[in-house]
């Protein structure tokens, strides 16, 4: 497989830079700075030190013995990104981008967030490095992810509630882009996923790829072989690319991206399974749109997956048939939360629970000697009230 993206930020027909001219010079500068840092051992030393001493890497690869026994099939391993500082994989990326922002002399970070995990991870590095920080979040998500809203405030970030459009992640990203267009000289836009204009899909992937590199070493030690399947949820796709990248050239390793099936036809956020090619938020990829090119409303119980686009490299890997995409509905994801909580004593984020739910379907179909690695991208504390409500409990009787 060729080294992607190409010089202009394309993954086959996808990716690129579809932005207002005002942002083009900033993107070109960011790309140059990043390419310099990528070759700079000092940058990598500092990044590794932060990953180890601040994020808590390497995260464990946990053999889910009870879950494996219960499902009766392939061995299931959990890559424990939920144990990263701040409770999700998002900080792998924000640490890296904060180092870039500092090198570029920026004083202010902005970010979009859906589930609030990327917002918290950005607010965290802003506090650590001494940046001002503003986080854009759709007003619907502010309500459903209240614990993360307070965490961001506690970390000193300013919350910008977005009331335009569908009041979710895509509108938060629109507003963050508008803010960046306006304050591009002083501000670094910390994009939270492998989407957006070049070089973001490349650099976010590179910062998240530590996940898969660790898995390679860990599974070799624990099983003495490569996994048969990698399973990760896909919203924008950063935890999936993080897990997949280190294995792309191993044809024996099959990769499954689990998209949000929501409530079914017309009420989901499955950009690849149910979308078509288009341009949104600066890159060409599969998106959810109507026949006239307007972006469709999306729906998922998991705010981190509730987005009408997906990273361009994931679209490319779909066309190459390197990654297979499936969908998991809200209902199944909530069952996935309960399943992992009860068998392994781990409460996953609703987003990650989509991957759990698919692994529960896949494992029984496989042989006991086969191995599945599932990316447990985040912990579920933020979702307790949503899950309680979904299980028919009011928040008081659930005690949340």
């Amino acid at each position: 497989m060729p080294k992607l993206p190409d010089a202009r930020g394309h993954f086959g027909p996808y990716g690129g830079r579809y932005v207002a001219e005002t942002l083009m010079p900033a993107l070109i500068e960011l790309e140059q700075v990043y390419r310099t840092c990528r070759r700079d051992p000092t940058f990598h030393r500092e990044l590794r030190a932060l990953q180890r001493e601040y994020v808590g890497r390497p995260t464990p690869l946990t053999f889910a013995a009870n879950l494996t026994r219960k499902l009766g099939g392939a061995k299931i391993y959990l890559k424990r990104e939920d144990l990263c500082h701040t409770g999700a994989h998002k900080i792998n990326n924000t640490i890296g981008q904060a180092l870039l922002a500092r090198r570029m002399g920026k004083s202010r970070l902005i970010a979009e967030t859906g589930a609030g995990q990327h917002g918290v991870a950005t607010a965290t590095v802003a506090a650590l490095f001494g940046f001002d920080c503003e986080v854009f979040m759709g007003s619907d998500d502010v309500v459903r992810q209240a614990p993360n809203v307070f965490r961001m405030r506690l970390l000193g970030a300013k919350l910008r509630e977005v009331t335009s459009g569908t009041r979710t992640l895509k509108d938060a990203m629109n507003e963050a882009l508008r803010d960046w267009i306006t304050h591009v000289a002083t501000t670094f836009y910390v994009i939270g996923t492998v989407a957006g204009p070049h070089p973001y899909p490349m650099l976010v992937r590179d910062f998240q790829a530590v996940i898969g590199r660790e898995v390679r070493r860990q599974i070799a030690r624990q099983e003495g072989r490569l996994p048969d399947y990698l399973v990760a949820c896909v919203g924008g796709g950063s935890n999936a690319m993080g897990l997949f990248t280190a294995f792309l050239t191993d044809p024996a390793v099959r990769m499954i991206g689990v998209e949000a099936g929501g409530l079914g036809e017309g009420h989901n956020a499955a950009s690849i399974s149910g979308g078509s090619v288009g341009v949104l938020h600066g890159s060409k990829s599969y998106i959810l749109q109507d026949e006239t090119g307007q972006i469709r409303d999306t729906y998922s119980l998991a705010p981190g997956l509730d987005y009408p686009g997906v990273g361009p490299e994931l679209s490319y890997l779909h066309d190459q048939r390197r990654v297979t995409y499936v969908t998991i509905a809200d209902e199944q994801a909530v069952a996935g939360v309960k399943l992992l909580a009860e068998t392994e004593g781990i409460i996953p984020a609703l987003e990650s629970a989509h991957a759990v739910a698919y692994a529960a379907i896949l494992a029984p179909r496989l042989q006991p000697e086969q191995v599945i690695v599932l990316n447990l991208s985040g912990r579920g504390d933020k979702d307790l009230s949503v899950v309680a409500r979904h299980m028919g409990l009011d928040e008081q009787s659930a005690g949340v």
Partner: protein, 283 residues
């Protein structure tokens, strides 16, 4: 010569800057847009920019965002905007320019878009999220149909990058006056006249200036330094204010008439010190 260069040539011979009003097609309905286009032309618009509404207009401020929402609410799509142009084209002589985000055009199909746009009489295209690095495919189609592909320059664009863009320019070049999104501003940047002068010095095509220009005084100020003055959000505000009123078209017309008069009268309308220091020259 296509309509756009012919229009600029005629204006240059009168030492007059062009006024380019922007309205979102379908705001509040396409029927109103039909009447607005004719009224704008009557009130002295030299070219007219018609916005194709998009659900996620990332370069637009609140006024044009709401205009796009109203237009989408009334069922506007790129195909219906082209139908509207077909109806109104025989009734006005000014160049008509589409202002769009890329996705509606990509979805429609670049080749089909250029062919259909040519057929209904579109003269130019501004595609706000399609920088030259990504524009080749669509521009090949619009070039073939003799539709002017209008590039944008911003305050953040370096001189070397501006040269690269201007090499590809057709029709005119759209200079974004402010580092920001569309919307009304109380004051224009102090360095604006300097920037515009520098671009005009190296540009093979006329230079239009837009983003943030909202009052007759500002229009006059920009009219003295640029080849064209583009006013959008301020008109969207007027449309929003009178959307439910029977005199909507007349109110928008009156405002655009004021803008054009201010540009024609030049110095007398401006309170800006620019009036004294910038001679009214045309290159």
């Amino acid at each position: 010569m296509t309509r756009i260069p012919a229009t600029f040539a005629a204006l240059r011979s009168r030492s007059e800057a062009a006024l380019i009003p922007y309205i979102t097609a379908g705001d509040p309905t396409l029927e109103v847009t039909f009447h607005l286009v004719r009224e704008l032309a009557r009130q002295g618009a030299d070219l007219i920019e018609l916005g194709v509404p998009f659900s996620d207009p990332m370069a637009d401020g609140p006024a044009n965002q709401r205009a796009a929402e109203r237009a989408l609410q009334s069922g506007t799509s790129l195909a219906r905007v082209l139908e509207l142009i077909q109806r109104v084209r025989p009734l006005v002589s000014v160049p008509l320019i589409l202002f769009s985000y890329y996705n509606p055009i990509f979805r429609y199909g670049g080749e089909r878009f250029a062919r259909d746009a040519r057929q209904v009489g579109v003269d130019g295209l501004v595609c706000v999220d399609l920088p030259p690095e990504e524009a080749d495919e669509l521009k090949r189609e619009t070039d073939r149909q003799d539709i002017d592909f209008i590039f944008l320059l911003a305050p953040t664009t370096s001189v070397s990058r501006a040269r690269m863009i201007l090499k590809r320019a057709r029709g005119f070049v759209y200079y974004v006056a402010v580092t920001g999104v569309t919307g009304v501003r109380a004051n224009l940047p102090t360095e604006l006249d300097d920037m515009v002068r520098r671009i005009r010095a190296i540009s093979p095509v006329p230079v239009g200036v837009g983003f943030g220009i909202s009052s007759p005084a500002q229009a006059a100020q920009v009219g003295r330094i640029a080849d064209a003055v583009i006013v959008g959000s301020a008109i969207s505000h007027v449309i929003e204010t009178y959307a439910q009123q029977p005199d909507l078209v007349a109110q928008v017309g009156a405002f655009v008439g004021d803008l054009k008069r201010a540009i024609r009268e030049g110095a007398t309308h401006s309170l800006s010190p620019l009036a004294e220091v910038v001679p009214k020259t045309q290159t």
